[in-house]
């Protein structure tokens, strides 16, 4: 069993990736991802890992480089944040359409403008429909575990899709947290060598990323959608395998004191731990409060979400991004749509909070529960509100 150590999370993520026998990384530094880029670069420069570190001139080039490398059969890694992710945007659906198992960490940060370097989820949400597997982590241990697990999911022959791991910028990347780091041998036993479905090699020419017109485009989109939906089975299998080897079990939807809860809250990412403290506080006062944490954003875990919330009277969905002029936060619209056809479902509230790094202490989560409990006539349902914004 690995020993429990403390380290800055971004550095620990780079350490974990360093155990995964990557062939190459192309990472352009951007706050708050920079420590991942810097430490991975150190590992290569110091000869601790046998990989190519490509010093690209932009995130667009970083994603282009990992697409090319992955196509050539290399286990490829990148990491970014905010504007960097926005700059990669046009390439993300190409990586997934070409079924290249790239792994990327996203140190989630607010998208400009105004310029802001702190944490929310406005960078990942516009990438929702790019065809990537998208995972949110809550703490250091999850960030490390998922950084390793992601390669195995992505490279499974029945998946062959890129994976992004969302790690809240600063609030998680820059914390020093205790965790267990698997050993090199353990990771080697868990993660087999990458076997690509095709490679670019002069001796056996193939075409990747070919042109397709209206006679094939819809079939290709359907195949990609099915591939992403089918990846869930493998994700669950790989998480089970991890649990057997390392004793830490992961599910697409985690619950905390949710079984008998009348009011549930749904969070994604590092806010889950603070919300959990609010649940304890409310339970101590006799409120039947519970928490649902959404770990798997794509493929969306419909069955698990339905099962987790079906017995609650009220559900507070929390969002850390805005869909301007839309129906509410992106998580809210997703959850609402998932529950639309259910005969038994809670009424749903949406609070948009923690934007641009705004601190959300335990008391704010308690406050959300109190507001919802006071709304006995369900008058505030079906709309969204910017929590804590000055009037």
């Amino acid at each position: 069993m690995a020993k429990r150590i403390g380290m800055e999370v971004a550095v620990a993520v780079a350490e974990a990736v360093g155990l995964c026998d990557i062939d190459m990384a192309a990472v352009y530094p951007i706050t708050p991802q920079s420590h991942i880029a810097e430490h991975l670069s150190d590992l290569v420069a110091d000869g601790k890992i046998d990989a190519e570190f490509v010093t690209v001139e932009s995130e667009h080039s970083a994603m282009s480089a990992v697409i090319g490398a992955s196509g050539a059969g290399a286990r490829s890694y990148t990491a970014t944040s905010s504007q960097g992710l926005m700059y990669m945007h046009e390439l993300l659906p190409i990586a997934s359409a070409m079924r290249l198992p790239i792994t990327m960490a996203i140190a989630n940060r607010a998208v400009s403008g105004p310029l802001n370097i702190l944490n929310d989820h406005s960078d990942i949400m516009p990438q929702r429909d790019s065809g990537w597997i998208s995972i949110f982590v809550e703490n250091a241990q999850e960030a490390i575990d998922m950084s390793i697990i992601a390669f195995k999911i992505a490279e499974n022959k029945d998946v062959m899709l890129p994976v992004n791991i969302n790690i809240d910028g600063f609030q998680l990347t820059h914390m020093v947290e205790p965790f267990e780091m698997p050993t090199q041998e353990e990771v080697r036993n868990f993660l087999p060598p990458f076997v690509p479905h095709a490679t670019l090699h002069p001796a056996k020419p193939v075409t990747m990323g070919a042109f397709a017109m209206s006679d094939y485009f819809p079939e290709i989109m359907k195949a990609k959608d099915e591939a992403l939906k089918n990846s869930k089975k493998i994700i669950l299998e790989v998480w089970d395998e991890w649990a057997k080897m390392f004793g830490r079990a992961y599910k697409p939807v985690e619950t905390y004191k949710a079984e008998d809860a009348e009011v549930l809250m749904l969070t994604m990412g590092s806010m889950g731990e603070t919300a959990q403290m609010a649940i304890d506080e409310l339970r101590a006062k006799g409120v039947k409060a519970g928490l649902v944490k959404l770990r798997l954003w794509r493929p969306f875990p419909f069955a698990e979400i339905k099962a987790a919330v079906k017995n609650a009277k009220k559900l507070i969905v929390t969002d850390r991004a805005v869909s301007f002029g839309g129906p509410g936060g992106p998580v809210f619209s997703e959850v609402k749509s998932a529950l639309y056809a259910e005969a038994q479902r809670p009424v749903i509230y949406d609070y948009i909070y923690g934007l641009g790094g705004r601190d959300v202490p335990v008391g704010d989560f308690v406050g959300m529960f109190e507001r919802v409990l006071a709304d006995t006539a369900n008058k505030e349902v079906d709309t969204y509100e910017f929590w804590g914004v000055r009037e």
């Binding site: 079924r99 020419p205 094939y216 079939e219």
Partner: protein, 92 residues
């Protein structure tokens, strides 16, 4: 060539047969076809040089024609032909 169903597509739509682009007949895109007037043609070959599809061929008599399996009807040959020997005719 029978069109494949979504289930039959190879992973990532990788094309494993080199040179198979020739099986894709871009001539189906055409709405106008180039027609050469050999009375005006001086056999300079500028149509051959400019054809972006590489489908203009010179016959044994020295005159040119386009392979209609691949000619997209873009009209660049007609535009470049300075003796005005190529007319673009609407497809029926």
């Amino acid at each position: 060539m029978a069109l494949k169903s979504w289930r039959e597509l190879p992973t990532g739509c990788v094309v494993f047969e080199p040179g198979s682009a020739s099986e894709y007949h871009t001539g189906s895109w055409r709405s106008q076809r180039p027609v050469w007037n050999n009375q005006k043609c001086i056999k300079c070959g500028i149509c051959y040089v400019f054809c972006p599809e590489g489908c203009v061929q010179q016959g044994e008599d020295g005159f040119f024609q386009a392979d209609m399996d691949y000619c997209k009807g873009c009209g660049i040959c007609a535009h470049e032909c300075w003796p005005r020997a190529i007319a673009m005719i609407e497809e029926g």
